[in-house]
């Protein structure tokens, strides 16, 4: 009973915070509303017994939202929300599409005859997950690793303002490299 109440409060709170993200004017508050949505959505995951994944979601989402915050403030035109602004295009159509998608998915969730497996929950989901990604699903982790590496390389290539020739001179011979900000190791 208590669990059902907690689930209801967290579900409604999470969706409400999600809506708030697109309603507030201040970009800082929008990011924290998204963070609140994530944390409130992680509580039902904790209630289901997935303790490791629930805390992991909270941990990773806090860090990601703080990084996203820095970029929001850099690029958005109204970071503190001091003036009201409208930053949507195609508003009505998007609302219609989102509503239709929600109705279709909800109908699917209610109508589908879900399999009735005995709810014998695994006693140690964390251990099962660890054994799984080290055994049968190791390929998943390997591919994720390669994708993350490719992402790192691509991100640096796209966003770095100075290339090789800026750093090492026209014939790539200047050592140490010329950087505006020196690191701690004197490289």
């Amino acid at each position: 009973m208590v669990e059902a109440i907690v689930f209801g409060v967290c579900a409604l709170g999470s969706v409400a915070c999600g809506v708030t993200v697109f309603r507030v004017n201040s970009m800082a508050r929008a990011t924290f509303a998204l963070l609140a949505s994530f944390v409130l959505a992680a509580v039902p995951i904790l209630l289901l017994g997935l303790s490791y994944l629930g805390v992991l979601v909270i941990l990773m989402m806090v860090m990601e939202m703080m990084i996203m915050l820095v970029f929001m403030l850099m690029y958005m035109m109204n970071p503190a929300g001091l003036m009201p602004m409208k930053m949507v295009h195609n508003n009505r159509m998007s609302l219609v599409i989102a509503a239709v998608v929600f109705v279709v998915l909800a109908m699917g969730a209610l109508i589908t005859p879900w399999p009735r497996t005995g709810r014998a929950s695994a006693l140690e989901p964390t251990k099962d997950l660890g054994l799984d990604i080290m055994g049968p699903h190791m390929l998943v982790m390997v591919i994720i690793g390669i994708v993350l590496f490719a992402t790192m390389v691509a991100v640096i290539v796209l966003s770095s303002a100075r290339g090789r020739y800026d750093r090492f001179g026209d014939d790539l011979s200047i050592r140490p490299p010329q950087d505006p900000v020196k690191g701690g190791l004197g490289r």
Partner: protein, 101 residues
């Protein structure tokens, strides 16, 4: 706390994220919508694990992959935004429609 309730919750998050994806003008706000969408997927995967297949950890692997996808999407989105902002000094998707049509 039944499976359909969890899935409706996930569908609501997905729909709100979809609204953000489709309607926002700024790349960063689109990414926030995408994050909400993937959040819905994470909740749905957790519910499927608990109610349908608690003996197998496959749904938990889906959650890990979804979190990795979130990180990748955020990183690439910010890199692209930085690159566009450097050349054009705007961050609206409306002004980045060179490949349209």
């Amino acid at each position: 706390m039944t499976l359909p309730l969890f899935l409706i919750f996930a569908a609501a998050l997905f729909a709100v994220g979809l609204y953000g994806l489709l309607s926002q003008q700024s790349i960063v706000m689109i990414m926030m919508g995408l994050e909400l969408t993937i959040n819905g997927i994470i909740v749905a995967a957790a519910a499927v694990w608990y109610f349908i297949s608690p003996g197998r950890p496959d749904a938990q692997t889906v959650i890990l992959v979804a979190m990795a996808a979130m990180a990748v999407e955020m990183a690439m989105g910010f890199a692209v935004t930085t690159a566009i902002f450097r050349t054009r000094d705007v961050d609206m998707v409306d002004s980045a429609s060179d490949l349209k049509g």
